[in-house]
Symmetry: none
């Protein structure tokens, strides 16, 4: 699922996978995404990489991050 040796950056691979899930309705709109640590652990990457992936989703308008609360799936 995640290929550390691949040409595309890890944070992009993680972002793509998370986007795939969101579009599949997991998690649904207005629900929180797993936290940075949870994502980092699941994908076996550093927290910074998980953060970077979330930033990509934010740039894509898929999620909204609220400091101290979490990252929510934007209502499409």
């Amino acid at each position: 699922m995640i290929d550390p040796e691949g040409a595309t950056p890890l944070y992009e691979q993680v972002a793509d996978e998370l986007e795939r899930r969101i579009r599949a309705g997991d998690p649904p709109p207005n629900r929180v995404l797993p936290g940075e640590l949870a994502i980092a652990q699941e994908f076996g990457v550093a927290r910074g990489t998980a953060r970077h992936a979330i930033a990509v989703l934010r740039a894509r308008g898929l999620v909204i991050t609220v400091p101290g609360r979490g990252t929510f799936v934007a209502k499409s």
Copy 2:
């Protein structure tokens, strides 16, 4: 005692010092360790660093943490 400039990470230095105390019987088995905030203040580190140090002690099997109660010295 704690060297912020040292090569070894702060959380490890704190963990080592706490282990030294535990082995010296302070605190004794089944007694609670100082809380994360107390440890952080005493050593002049952030709470996250104190948490990390406690996690190390837990991994070493020296302490057991109970949410909402505290961290206890494991009976050796």
